[in-house]
């Protein structure tokens, strides 16, 4: 046991919670219309409540419990039985098992919360809760086991995903796209502009995401050491590089850079460096940031409008596309010199790693698409995923939660 490592992981766990509430809540909350801002805050907040209990009761055991044929964790640790202050050497010898568990709990919370961006402003609260519980149990927990669990089949193949490019961002991002398509467009989308109601909220949220991401990525070293510092540095550089690149693209393409674009670029950079941060050097991180800003900009500003799906807040465009770029980039830029436990990427003479990354990406995409489709169809048939049109027009705050964010008088 190491007190420094333990202190850092506990602090990092709190930082990752900060990413969801209030970081993501305000990032998304500012982007919706004022009649729906409380619905976003509620969805982010109640996910933290719901998934924390799911994780304690059985989610953690499914994801990280003793391996069952490489596909899922056994239920030996339900109710956190045996998950206490003694370290679990399979994951870390220097921190309490319970510290590792709570750090991972915060990842399980933010992943389904990222999907909120796709069905914002039109999902029924009850259906959202059931979807979140089923998706976390049937998509996130198995994927986390495959990639990170000891004995997980992707981990055994040598797939590299330092902090969750596949497990967190690709899985939530592609599921978000499927939901946006299945749920259909918001009433009025394409006919009249749907404007963000409070961009300062969005910038505040993006800033808290950036801040919390140091816990997410650097904490994934599971120790307070040089690898954690490398992840911290590369995370920061990729965010800075992607934010600046996005602003410059907007400047040349639209004539003016926007704060929404710059903040979106920063988040895309953070997403892309997530799988790579513990395997790459700062120059590579800067290049990854530039690439992801360009690719995500094209996906959001050009391709989305051409195809015409309504990914309300670009959950797919930022997390799905950014996570894909990051996962592939990890197979290109990784260096054993940075992390001996990793592998060299294509640039360092190991084309095989790029192949492994792409294979893992394809499997995760197919798995998430199929599972999300099935879960959606079941819930839609039983309780309906979408609110009635009239309630959508009035807004989710009043019709789903009987409250309003802003009052006119007093």
């Amino acid at each position: 046991m190491d007190s420094g490592d333990t202190a850092w992981i506990l602090a990092a766990s709190a930082l990752v919670l900060l990413m969801t509430i209030p970081g993501l809540a305000f990032f998304y909350g500012g982007l919706v219309r004022k009649k729906n801002v409380l619905s976003i805050l509620m969805q982010c907040f109640i996910i933290a409540c719901l998934i924390s209990l799911q994780w304690m009761l059985f989610g953690y055991s499914l994801a990280f419990g003793p391996d069952f044929h490489g596909i899922i964790g056994k239920l030996n640790w339900i109710g956190l039985k045996g998950v206490g202050s003694a370290p679990n050497p399979d994951y870390s010898q220097t921190i309490p098992h319970s510290a590792f568990m709570i750090f991972q709990a915060m990842f399980a919370i933010i992943t389904p919360a990222l999907i909120i961006g796709a069905y914002a402003e039109r999902v029924k609260l009850s259906a959202f809760l059931v979807f979140t519980l089923l998706w976390t149990t049937l998509v996130y927990d198995p994927l986390a086991h495959w990639v990170w669990g000891v004995g997980g089949w992707m981990r055994s193949l040598g797939a590299l995903d330092f902090a969750g490019g596949i497990v967190v961002h690709v899985s939530s991002g592609i599921s978000a796209l499927i939901l946006a398509i299945l749920l259909g467009k918001r009433v009025g989308y394409n006919h009249k502009p749907i404007r963000p109601h409070n961009l300062p909220f969005t910038v505040l949220g993006a800033t808290l995401l950036w801040f919390g991401w140091f816990g997410f990525n650097s904490g994934s070293a599971l120790a307070a050491n040089g690898l954690a510092a490398n992840a911290f540095v590369t995370t920061h550089i990729a965010a800075a590089s992607a934010g600046l690149t996005w602003a410059l693209i907007e400047w040349s393409h639209n004539g003016a850079p926007t704060i929404l674009g710059t903040a979106t670029g920063v988040v895309a950079g953070l997403v892309a460096v997530t799988p790579a941060c513990g395997f790459v050097n700062p120059i590579s991180a800067m290049i990854i940031g530039m690439i992801v800003a360009g690719v995500c900009y094209v996906a959001i500003a050009i391709i989305k409008n051409k195809i015409g799906y309504d990914d309300s807040l670009d959950a797919f465009g930022v997390h799905g596309v950014g996570g894909t770029v990051g996962t592939i980039a990890t197979g290109i830029f990784s260096q054993k010199a940075i992390n001996p436990a990793g592998a060299d990427g294509m640039l360092f003479g190991n084309v095989h790693q790029l192949f492994v990354q792409c294979m893992m990406l394809a499997v995760a995409l197919v798995f998430a698409v199929i599972m999300t489709f099935i879960i959606f169809k079941i819930i839609d048939a039983v309780i309906g995923m979408r609110v009635e049109e009239n309630n959508e027009i009035i807004g989710l705050d009043l019709t789903q939660q009987s409250e309003a964010a802003y009052t006119v008088i007093e």
């Binding site: 502009p193 404007r195 963000p196 907007e250 393409h253 639209n254 003016a256 926007t258 929404l260 674009g261 979106t264 900009y297 959001i300 500003a301 050009i302 409008n305 670009d314």
Partner: protein, 113 residues
Amino acid sequence: MKLVIAIIQPHKLGAVKRELEAVEVNLMTVTNVLGQGRQKGITEIYRGAREAGGLLNKVRLDIAVNEDFVEPTINAITKGAHSGDVGDGKIFIVDLAECIRISSGERGGIAIG
């Protein structure tokens, strides 16, 4: 009695207020409003999506005056809000049927000032 309604550029409010106070028109109600004129609003860009027809921020003044003060009020607003560009705003004058001061119950011209 007349009700003077003026729609002006928000950044001209300070100058208009100074001009009105110079001709002893001290009572006014000011609100933030949205609108568009011949320029047909502005274009906003969100994540690369252009959205034309955004309404512009304007400030609206509601000023009730007796007949003697109508022209000085119009002149003061015009002087303060004028730049010569599109978007300077408009002034509307309507007849005012009655005016009642709530604190004293006074009615008509004496209640306005």
